[in-house]
């Protein structure tokens, strides 16, 4: 049950425009000839920002009881962070190929 504090439709359009601006920044960054790791970090950070705005406003989590947020998000983030265990092996593979 969402509360009555929800934003107006024009505010949601503003959020949509803001998200498109972030996409435009991502495209500009892509053509700045950044190092792959720097580009990846920048794009992922911007994507996380977009996702946070989408979850809080478009999916209305901001207007639900806080327990919903605290039940769902820490657990999901924990699972996704655990997947980062794979990265050292990926870098090991890349360095092994360079040695050959």
């Amino acid at each position: 049950m969402s509360s009555n504090r929800e934003l107006s439709m024009s505010s949601y359009v503003g959020i949509g425009v803001g998200l498109m601006v972030i996409v435009a920044i991502e495209v500009v960054l892509t053509y700045q000839h950044l190092e792959t790791r720097t580009l990846l970090f920048s794009l992922l950070s911007l994507a996380c920002l977009e996702a946070f705005v989408a979850v809080m406003y478009l999916m209305h989590v901001k207007y639900e009881r806080p327990i919903l947020f605290w039940t769902i998000f820490p657990a999901t983030l924990f699972v996704l962070i655990l997947l980062c265990y794979l990265w050292p092996d990926a870098f090991r593979m890349a360095s092994m190929r360079l040695l050959q």
Binding site: V13, L19, E26, L58, R65, T71, T76, L86
Partner: protein
């Protein structure tokens, strides 16, 4: 025990005592959130697998030129617009405006279909250049096709499923079988599909642009 009057449905002449949900949302909406969590982990696993292979292979394909990136930007704009039209449909359903709800659900389905068509256009363009699931025509890592087609294919499946689900919801809502909570729950799914694209576009398209 926190028991509310609304949480005591009657069965025959007896009232069933039920504890109120601590989340304060309907069961179907909580069920959708559970689905979204599991689906987020699925997409997360796919994207991490892609990242693993991308980092582990120094010679990775970068097939996307400015035209493909522009196509991707248009696809993003279409999907974001569909999220806004879905919000308009939910708003209309909450006020009980049936024609307006149907109209906005129709626009959302149309935008979803346009997104799918643009997606398939990109796929056919790549296939025309010789990219396959396990073949890289430029001689680099063969896994590009496997990761690109599987991640974007999974997302495309979600979009198509969403369009079909919205069609059922619109039909049921029009006939009075479904109410505004069904439209809200479908909206939650649709926004999640949009959210996933916010990661797929930069990671699969922009990271592979030349």
């Amino acid at each position: 025990m926190n028991v509310t009057q609304s949480a005591m449905p009657s069965v025959g002449q007896h009232e069933v005592l039920m504890e109120a949900s601590p989340y304060g949302i309907e069961k179907k909406k909580l069920g959708m959130w559970m689905f979204i969590v599991s689906d987020a982990c699925t997409f997360g696993a796919f994207l991490f697998a892609y990242g693993y292979m991308r980092v582990g292979n120094p010679v990775w394909g970068t097939p996307f030129g400015p035209a493909s990136v522009l196509n991707g930007v248009v696809m993003t704009a279409v999907l974001l617009s569909s999220s806004l039209t879905m919000l308009a449909a939910v708003r209309a359903a909450q006020t009980g405006a049936k024609p307006s709800t149907k109209k906005w659900l129709g626009v959302t389905m149309l935008l979803g279909t346009i997104f799918a068509a643009l997606h398939l256009k990109e796929w056919f363009s790549l296939i025309g250049e010789g990219w396959r699931l396990f073949y890289n025509p430029t001689g680099g890592a063969a896994q590009f096709g496997a990761t690109f087609f599987s991640v974007t294919g999974l997302h495309l499946t979600h979009v198509v499923t969403g369009v079909i689900a919205l069609a059922f919801i619109a039909r049921g809502y029009n006939r009075g079988r479904y109410d505004q909570s069904h439209v809200e729950t479908a909206g939650l799914y649709w926004h999640f599909v949009d959210l996933v694209w916010m990661f797929v576009f930069p990671l699969m398209y922009l990271m592979n642009a030349h």
